[in-house]
Amino acid sequence: MGAEFVQLSLTPILIGVLSAIACALPGNFLILRRQALIGDAISHVVLPGIVVAFLVTGSLASLPMLLGAAGAALVAVVLIETVRRLGRIEPGAAMGVVFTAMFAGGVLLLEQSDTSGVHLDVEHALMGNLESLIWFDATGWGSLLDPAALAGLPPELPRIALVAAVMTMLMLVLWRPLKLSTFDEGFAATLGLPVRLIGLGLVAASAVAAVAAFDAVGSIIVIAMFICPPATARLVTERLERQVAWSTVFAALSAVLGYVLAGYGPQWFGAINAVSAAGMIATVSGVILAIACLFAPHRRRVGQPMA
């Protein structure tokens, strides 16, 4: 089991865990600010960004893909704001207009352009390819100390690790202004904090996390991890510090459990083929949230009757 596990499962699990954490961290603030669906919108508009980047550069190299996705996320945020202001439309509907139109444009562009020779299609964008991120050069646990084998790690792993680290660092450094402006924007503004900039920065950070995770695991996990672990944590505790900590625990748990269930679960039922790991991770995060909704200590609103 050892060598095979390291080669086939270790890197996907690590990438899944890191993606989940990178998305769950900003998700904590998004759900408190009633912006939970920003993650949904971003993960939809990533597709046109990637398609355009591919059409411009003609390759599936990571950097242009990431830049294209980030550019699309930026365009989407600007468009949503423009539609909201110009048409005086409520933000939810403005978001719905922009992200569906951009996603439709991306699908059409993809179908119209010749991408038959490369691995780029809508289903891949939705489901990711977590299972294929295996570590060919590994021969066993010892490979973790072997520089030659480490050089053969899938490039997604260091990238998502970097993003997760940057997310954690940004959150620790900007903790007080973030917390203040999330709970009481008016008060934060009177203290002289740039609340608009903080809000925009949070959306930008979410976009970076979404794009980096999307690259590895597809958009389902991105949406699920933005929302489910933080929502679960919100039902477990009253304090933001603990909520963030719990959300990373739930995110990691969903990723590990989901991957194991998807990879090994079908064998327990006598089936040979694994099922979609991305889908299973999202499902597990939902099950955890459902349990929290039923039993968690702080599941009710303050003052809500116990009935």
Binding site: I31, M95, V97, G105, L126, I223, A224, N273, L289
Partner: protein
């Protein structure tokens, strides 16, 4: 857009329902569906719950998978559209119930509930799809078509189901339009009239659910939400009246569905769902640009008119007070109306107008002093003539006060 490759005639003939019986049926079905979605979506939009439909749409996927598995297990054809749609309706209803339950019973907000249901149901649906792929190797289940919609090679019976679904949704809409308008516009008033708002809300959601499920095969579950959101948002730009918005949204949705389906029939390589969405989005952009009232162009024209009136007024006041004018726009406005000569000296008409403006300004000064706490004084914007705000008697009173203070000043001077 690379639309040049399919010949235009093919599109026109599809528009005129000449591109084959099934294509015509699909186009009609898509048009009816668009009408029902646009009009039904309006109520959702006015209730500020537009994105609930996104959760409903994504929650259909596990139902599609389970229905397929059940039908195969019973020895039936797993691809029967009616069965798949029935399954999707059940799981969408379950998703909707979850959103409602989470929002009502826990401290989580509605958008969090929507996002959680959407991603978890969709993720579980993807798991089921991979299970089905491994079960039916060599035989395409074709369930991926539900993600983005596909009408190419659609069976006659399937097209019939969609057209019928569209008709039923439109009929339900016509029957329920009055109570739904009332509830979405003013729930409190509707309740006071004795309507059961909860039940009407439920009916609204069921209608949205029916539209979503019917639209799955044509538009696909990722994009069907666009048909419920974009037409109402576009229609809202055209009118301030609920009944008009519903009608316009229905029209925009119908045109998008019909034209989009026709386009994709003319060019089979093009997926139907994204085209329908992009047609709707183009109509939205046109509305945003050209709608009277809320449109960008109308707003720009209004702004320009206001600017010109402001410059005219300020210019006239400067003339009356004998102050020099430097602003080029002010000079242009005054010159164009013949109020000043090219050398900036006021004409006869200009002097008269300037005198009037000054009198108006003085009267307003007095009026604002008297009615300091009165909403009337807030009507002062430097543009509205005082005769439009006050009665003749009031103005006569103000003039008396003005004359008195003028006399007083003269007395001081001597």
């Amino acid at each position: 857009m690379p639309m040049s490759s399919p010949p235009l005639e093919a599109f026109v003939s599809a528009l005129l329902l000449q591109a084959g019986y099934n294509a015509a049926l699909v186009a009609i079905g898509a048009g009816l569906l668009g009408i029902a979605a646009g009009a039904g979506g309006t109520f959702l939009f006015l209730r500020k719950r537009a994105l609930v439909s996104d959760a409903i749409a994504h929650a259909t996927l596990p139902g599609v998978g389970i229905a397929f598995l059940v039908m195969v297990g019973l020895g039936l054809d797993g691809r029967s559209l009616v069965g798949l749609l029935a399954g999707s309706a059940l799981s969408a209803a379950l998703g909707l119930l979850c959103v409602e339950w989470i929002t009502r019973r826990t401290r989580l907000a509605e958008d969090t509930a929507i996002g959680a249901v959407l991603s978890v149901f969709f993720g579980f649906g993807i798991v089921l799809l991979t299970v089905i792929q491994t079960l039916s190797q060599g035989r395409q289940a074709g369930l991926e078509g539900f993600l983005l919609g596909s009408t190419a090679g659609m069976l006659y019976s399937d097209a019939m189901v969609i057209a019928l679904g569209g008709v039923l949704a439109v009929l339900a809409l016509v029957a329920l339009r009055r109570p739904m308008t009332l509830v979405s516009f003013d729930p409190g008033f509707a309740a006071a009239l004795g309507l059961n708002t909860r039940r009407i809300d439920l009916a609204m959601m069921l209608l949205v659910l029916a539209v979503t499920v019917t639209g799955l095969k044509i538009v696909g579950l990722v994009l069907v939400v666009a048909l419920l959101i974009i037409p109402p948002v576009a229609a809202r730009l055209w009118s301030e009246r609920t009944d008009h918005v519903v009608l316009i949204a229905g029209a925009i949705g119908g045109v998008s569905g019909y034209a989009g389906a026709a386009m994709s029939a003319a060019a089979p390589g093009l997926p139907t769902g994204p085209i329908i969405v992009l047609v709707a989005f183009s109509l939205f952009l046109l509305s945003l640009a050209f709608a009277p009232g809320r449109g960008v162009l109308a707003a720009a024209i209004r702004h320009r008119r206001f600017q010109l009136r402001l410059h005219r007024r300020q210019g006239l006041l400067s003339l009356a007070r004998g102050e020099p004018i430097f602003d080029p726009l002010t000079l242009k406005v005054l010159r164009r109306e013949g109020l000043i000569r090219p050398d900036r000296v006021p004409t006869e008409a200009g002097r008269i107008e300037a005198g009037r403006a000054l009198v108006d300004e003085r009267r307003f000064e007095v009026a604002r002093r008297i009615h300091r706490d009165d909403p009337l004084s807030h009507r002062y914007d430097g543009l509205t003539p005082i005769t439009a705000v006050m009665t003749g008697d009031e103005i006569a009173e103000i003039d008396r006060m003005l004359a008195a203070s003028a006399m007083l000043r003269r007395g001081e001077g001597s």
